[in-house]
């Protein structure tokens, strides 16, 4: 909320403006930012693409696979938590978009259907990509991962060629959708100072100046109430002639407590992500083989596409249905419709989503982390055989996973409480809180249980 920020002279730990710190202010206003991080990232991306498409065929030996799925993918939700969508500012796909746009961009307005259905499209892409990963083995197959990256590259080239700003990142990118949801739990918030913005008629932050382009994700800091579509690229900081922009540190999940205009599709995505976290965990469990056998007998087919699709659909339907049922029960107390409750309280699951996602990927990062080093060594002819890829032991990983789920559980429960408190009064607060608290606890317990079971490796 714009009213959250008013602190030119407050300590940064008390919600003060980080731009008060000269080093940060200078760095963000520098013409080298974010290029100094963006261009090396693009170079690394090119190495990854080369490895994925033309490197070793076995994921175990491929540096591209290790960097993408063992390093980057586990780190990305952690980045969202601490820095919001900053990754999107330096994302190589966005850099390619900008590069193509600079030379041949037609800068046409975003198609209306993308504006209207963008998040549903992102939801559909997210589901499709997860599904195809399992059915066609994208992660386990370097070439498959490379084709996924090439497809995304083609998407951003098409978007950058014809449409303005970062249309792809805002309305199509599945990771952008995930990032948008997760960034709401993020600890960085960028906003305009309401008193200053109220008198501003220039809108340089949105339109751009000779110093920097206008907001690449079509945000107007004057009206921003969410960091879901702010990539902390600092273009608005450079462009604002009134130094109105503030960058503050806030408690994780705080944004979720005050969603002004909740959207059904975003609430739906948060429930879908929970389902996807379930399915990612389930298919990595050692008992997955037995479950698959049972499913094959029950359905009478050994076709993995069919058996997995059934598992996938069930995993996604469970959290969505549970959220629906809970919303219906809560509606008995707060007199809101199922859709209203679903839309408003769906956001509370995001904290648990982020925790589950980080916890799941922590296994890959910590149990397979050394594979990044080994595959990089192999690139220079130094083969490492038989060495463990683990950075820490399984006990430590499991402890961290449980800790993360506990934090996510607390975050989601508190978010439910705050949303209930903001939107209801008196007994309705608890009548609304209790069913959702029960839902969050159920989802948390499922997560706990899944992390108790032994997992299989990715590399």
């Amino acid at each position: 909320m714009t009213t959250e920020l008013k602190s030119q002279n407050k300590s940064v730990f008390a919600g003060g403006n980080l731009l008060q710190i000269k080093v940060i202010d200078r760095f963000l206003r520098s013409k080298w930012f974010p290029g100094i991080i963006q261009w090396p990232t693009l170079l690394i991306f090119m190495v990854i693409m080369f490895q994925l498409l033309l490197g070793p065929e076995s994921a175990h030996d491929n540096l591209g696979t290790a960097l993408t799925w063992v390093l980057w993918w586990p780190l990305i939700p952690i980045i969202f938590l601490f820095l919001g969508r900053f990754w999107c500012a330096i994302c190589p796909f966005a850099t390619i978009n900008d590069l193509v746009q600079k030379f041949v961009g037609n800068n046409r307005p975003v198609p209306r259907f993308l504006k209207k259905y963008g998040i549903w499209i992102i939801d559909a892409f997210f589901i499709m990509i997860t599904w195809s990963d399992h059915v066609w083995g994208v992660v386990e197959n370097p070439y498959g991962s490379g084709i996924l990256m090439l497809t995304l590259t083609t998407g951003v080239i098409a978007s950058g060629s014809f449409f303005e700003r970062r249309t792809f990142c805002r309305h199509v990118c599945f990771l952008g959708g995930l990032a948008g949801n997760y960034a709401r739990t993020g600890m960085l918030a960028l906003r305009g100072t309401p008193e200053i913005c109220a008198t501003c008629r220039l809108a340089s932050c949105y339109k751009g100046t000779e110093k920097a382009p206008g907001c690449s994700l079509f945000e107007f800091p004057k009206n921003m109430t969410s960091n879901a579509n702010c990539v902390i690229c600092a273009d608005c900081i450079k462009n604002c002639p009134n130094d109105s922009i503030q960058l503050t540190v806030r408690p994780p999940t705080k944004e979720l407590w005050f969603i002004r205009k909740p959207k059904m599709e975003e609430a739906f995505l948060s429930a879908v992500i929970m389902g996807i976290v379930f399915v990612q965990n389930i298919t990595m469990l050692e008992v997955w083989g037995s479950m698959l056998n049972w499913l094959e007998k029950a359905t009478g087919t050994t076709n993995y596409a069919i058996t997995f699709s059934i598992t996938f659909a069930i995993s996604i339907i469970i959290p969505v249905a549970l959220l629906g049922v809970t919303s219906w029960i809560a509606g008995k107390f707060n007199k809101n419709s199922l859709v209203e409750n679903f839309t408003r309280f769906g956001y509370a699951i995001i904290a648990l989503d982020v925790a589950g996602h980080i916890a799941h990927n922590l296994f890959h990062l910590l149990a397979e982390g050394k594979s990044i080093f080994y595959t990089a060594m192999a690139l220079f002819g130094q083969e490492v055989h038989g060495a463990s890829p683990a950075l820490v032991g399984m006990d430590t990983i499991q402890l961290l996973q449980f800790g993360l789920i506990a934090l996510g559980l607390v975050g989601s429960l508190y978010t439910v409480y705050r949303i209930a408190k903001t939107n209801h009064s008196g007994r309705n607060i608890w009548g609304t809180f209790v069913p959702y608290a029960a839902l969050i606890i159920i989802l948390g317990v499922i997560n706990f249980y899944l992390f108790v079971l032994p997992m299989a490796m990715r590399m």
Partner: protein, 214 residues
């Protein structure tokens, strides 16, 4: 909104159906479109590939059931794979016992002992000139081998198995699908992107300028 959801769900369903049922094989009736099935002397033989019978690495799975529908355990199972020639029936890799005994290509013919016994082939094999042994999996009656199918098109696959002292053979014809080479796929992406950029370059003069964008 509902219409969009309907279209999205329909598309997802169609993709799932297409993915689940690629018609790659001259398959017989059965639940799995990739699997070939045959009855030999009361034994039910199923031949399948976990890789959808595509050119390249395939994990071939043979399932043996007896007349009671019970899995046949502990059998010696071998497979001989030969690319089928269009103009004459001479396979490019003919097993010795076929040559000696005038092997009929009719499915389900009982065979005598093969002249060439299964060798100690490693589990990961290239397309074989001799029959290669399948190893029994943890699942009863299921035998598997990883093999490299070097060419596309019709292949003759003879599954030979020893049960109760006699050797039975099931001959299948499998159509191996040509997989697009990496080069074709990569150059296709290059071509699409070049076309996109070139088209954008040509249309740029008509584009709406956005102030501030460089």
């Amino acid at each position: 909104m509902k219409r969009f959801l309907h279209i999205t769900l329909t598309l997802l369903t169609m993709i799932a159906i297409v993915s689940a049922n690629p018609s790659l094989v001259l398959a017989s009736e059965g639940d799995d479109e990739h699997a070939l099935e045959m009855e030999v002397n009361g034994y039910h033989v199923t031949l399948d590939s976990q890789n959808d019978w595509k050119k390249g690495e395939n994990t071939i799975v043979v399932t043996l059931m007896d007349s009671m529908g019970m899995p046949v355990q502990g059998a010696d199972v071998e497979i001989l794979i030969a690319a089928k020639s269009d103009d004459h029936a001479e396979p490019e890799m003919e097993p010795a016992h076929d040559a000696e005994q005038g092997h009929s290509s009719m499915p389900g013919m009982d065979m005598g002992e093969p002249a060439v016994e299964a060798s100690d082939m490693p589990a990961h094999e290239e397309e074989a000139t001799n029959p290669v042994s399948l190893s029994e999996s943890e699942e009863n009656g299921v035998y598997v081998i990883e093999t490299q199918l070097e060419s596309s098109g019709a292949h003759e696959m003879s599954v030979m198995f020893h049960v109760n002292g006699e050797m039975l053979q099931a001959d299948f014809v499998v159509d191996i699908l040509e997989v697009l080479s990496k080069a074709i796929v990569l150059w296709s992406f290059v071509a699409i992107n070049v076309v996109l950029i070139a088209s954008a370059g040509i249309l740029k003069k008509q584009a709406i300028p956005v102030k501030g964008r460089q």
